[in-house]
Each structure stands twice: as structure tokens, then as C-alpha cells.
């Protein structure tokens, strides 16, 4: 029972506080880059959280590292590489495009293309069927069938 209680307690982070550091930046551009970078890097040992929002010790260490690197003139790419070297691809919320992620990045567009082709085919097919007979007559027949179906429903 004690175990159950403990495991339930551990489920939620012990504190949900905004992680606020009050770093002084040399210029607003660096501050904006800092905010962007820390929002795109995942905290390696938290629940699903970026290092900007998490207040776990490791996230605050990593924030400090990003701050120091940016202030020392590192490029965004250098900061990202630094983190990946140490913590793996896992820390990237924006997965890199490579063989492993092709499906992820391009799959949706492939699916969209397939979907649009289907729309084209369907509307074309339907139109060919439509042009097989005079439009008015088909309409009437349609309506009749619809009515019949509705009638069936009412009867049962």
C-alpha cells in the first residue's frame, strides 16, 4: 500500500513552477535566440518538456550552457551539435531530416498528393457516369430512389 501511494505521488512532478533565470543578455537578438533554442531542446530527464519550461536541475544546467555558449558567440548550429553530442538526437524537438525521418517529414505531403489525386479521379469518374445519360432524367431517377429508400425506413 505504501508503495502504491508512493508511486502515485511520483507520477506528477513535485513542482510545477515556471523556470525563470533572469539572465542578462548582451543584446535582444541573443535573448530571442536563447528563447528559441531552449524551446526547441528537450530536457533529457523530464517528462515531455523543453529545457526552457522545465525547472529540473539538468534543464537549468543546460539553459546556463546555452546562455554561456551564445554569449561566447556560438552559432545556433554549434549549440545544437553540442547538445546532440552529449545527449543524443533525443534532445531535438525538431528531428533532423535523414533516412530515418523521411517518412515523418515527407509522408504527410505524399499522403496529401495521393488524396488530391483521389479527389480528381472520383470527380472525373462521377462526371463520366453522369454524362452517360441526360442529366435531368438521372436526377429524377435519383430522387425516386432516394424516396424509395426513405419510404423503406419509414415502413420498418
Amino acid at each position: 500500500m505504501k508503495h502504491l501511494l508512493l508511486s502515485l505521488l511520483l507520477l506528477w512532478p513535485l513542482s510545477v513552477t515556471a523556470a525563470i533565470d533572469a539572465y542578462e543578455f548582451s543584446d535582444p537578438v541573443t535573448e530571442a535566440r536563447f528563447q528559441e533554442l531552449t524551446a526547441e531542446l528537450r530536457c533529457p530527464k523530464c517528462q515531455n518538456n523543453n529545457i526552457a519550461d522545465s525547472n529540473s536541475p539538468i534543464a537549468s544546467d543546460l539553459r546556463r550552457e546555452v546562455y554561456l555558449m551564445l554569449e561566447a558567440g556560438a552559432t545556433d548550429q554549434e549549440v545544437v551539435n553540442f547538445m546532440v553530442d552529449r545527449y543524443g538526437e533525443f534532445v531535438l524537438y525538431r528531428p533532423r531530416v535523414n533516412e530515418m525521418t523521411w517518412l515523418l517529414w515527407y509522408g504527410p505531403f505524399g499522403l496529401l498528393a495521393v488524396g488530391l489525386v483521389v479527389v480528381l479521379l472520383v470527380s472525373r469518374n462521377r462526371r463520366r457516369r453522369q454524362s452517360a445519360g441526360p442529366q435531368r432524367e438521372l436526377d429524377a431517377r435519383e430522387r425516386e430512389r432516394l424516396n424509395k429508400l426513405l419510404q423503406q425506413d419509414k415502413d420498418t
Binding site: K45, P57, V84, D85, R86, Y87, G88
Partner: protein, 178 residues
């Protein structure tokens, strides 16, 4: 053709279901070290027990060994400490990284609970920990004779975990011989 297409949603769902089922036995929080199969990161840090002595990654080379990241503020480290002592008595080489800790407290801790480490380095700032990709103590690494990282375990070392670590160390030993 249309008949086959109608089975497509079912097929997709079954594929998805398979992955979800596999997912139940995977721990999403378990992370392999990004430093796996890379040389131990370079460092120059003072020894905990002999503060005047500077240790580097060269000092870890020579034989397969464990490198244990620990701190006095970490309750799990205390849990595993007795087992590390036992391993040390059995002849396992263990190096320690005293991670983001106060050396005075750390030395007192080793006096009190015994010192399983061949040597401990002081990583007060956590720089070495960062280079290693440590995200919380305790962590234990297996390195080979050339100082290459071969395995990482996150969390306490106990008899069960030691089986895994030992298997890696044995594999290194056989690999070296052949």
C-alpha cells in the same frame, strides 16, 4: 480493386496495433548514452581524496572499469553505495565522479560509508558530467582498457544491474583476447 482498398484501413490499424503492443514493453524514458563507443571525454580535475593531484582521462585507461557518477545530495547514491563497496572488494575497478557536490561533504561521506573508488574526481561545476551526457546521479559507465565508453546504466547498481554490467565487461575482456 475497390474491395481490396476497403481492407486498407483495417490493415493500417493492424500495423498500428502491432507497434502499440510493442510500445507497452518499451520504456520511453530509457535513454542510451550518446557517448557510447566514444572515448571518455577529456578532463583535468582534482582528485577528491588527494586535492593536489590532477587526474585526466588518461588515468582511467589500462583495464576495463566502472565509472560511477555520485553525489552526497543523491539518496539513490547512498542506496547503491554498499553494493559498490562489495564490488570493489571483489576486485572490480571503480572510478568515481563526484558530481556537483561539495568536496568537504563528499570526503566525509567516503570516510563514513567507506571508499569503493580507486580514485574520485571532483566535478563541482558539473562540466565533466555535461560532457558525459549525465542527466542525474547516480549513473554508472563501463569503459574498456582504452577508455572507450561501452555501456551506461542510469540509476542504482544492484545485483541484477551488475549482471548486465558484468556481461559487458566480460565481452570486452574476450574481445581484447581475440
Amino acid at each position: 480493386m475497390r474491395r481490396v482498398l476497403l481492407f486498407l484501413p483495417l490493415a493500417i490499424f493492424l500495423g498500428l496495433g502491432f507497434f502499440l503492443w510493442r510500445g507497452l514493453s518499451i520504456d520511453p524514458t530509457e535513454l542510451p548514452s550518446a557517448r557510447l563507443n566514444q572515448p571518455f571525454p577529456a578532463f583535468e580535475l582534482a582528485s577528491l581524496t588527494e586535492p593536489d593531484r590532477i587526474l585526466t582521462e588518461q588515468d582511467l585507461k589500462g583495464a576495463p572499469a566502472l565509472v560511477n557518477v555520485w553525489a552526497t545530495w543523491c539518496p539513490t547514491c547512498k542506496e547503491e553505495h554498499a553494493y559498490l563497496n562489495q564490488l570493489a572488494r571483489e576486485g572490480v575497478t571503480i572510478y568515481g565522479i563526484n558530481y556537483k557536490d561539495e568536496p568537504v561533504k563528499a570526503r566525509a561521506w567516503l570516510d563514513r560509508y567507506l571508499d569503493p573508488y580507486v580514485a574520485s574526481v571532483v566535478d563541482e561545476e558539473g562540466r565533466l558530467g555535461l560532457d558525459l551526457g549525465v542527466y542525474g546521479a547516480p549513473e554508472t559507465y563501463v569503459i574498456d582498457a582504452d577508455g572507450v565508453i561501452r555501456y551506461r546504466h542510469v540509476g542504482a547498481v544492484d545485483a541484477r544491474v551488475w549482471q548486465d554490467l558484468k556481461a559487458v565487461m566480460d565481452a570486452i575482456a574476450t574481445g581484447d583476447r581475440s
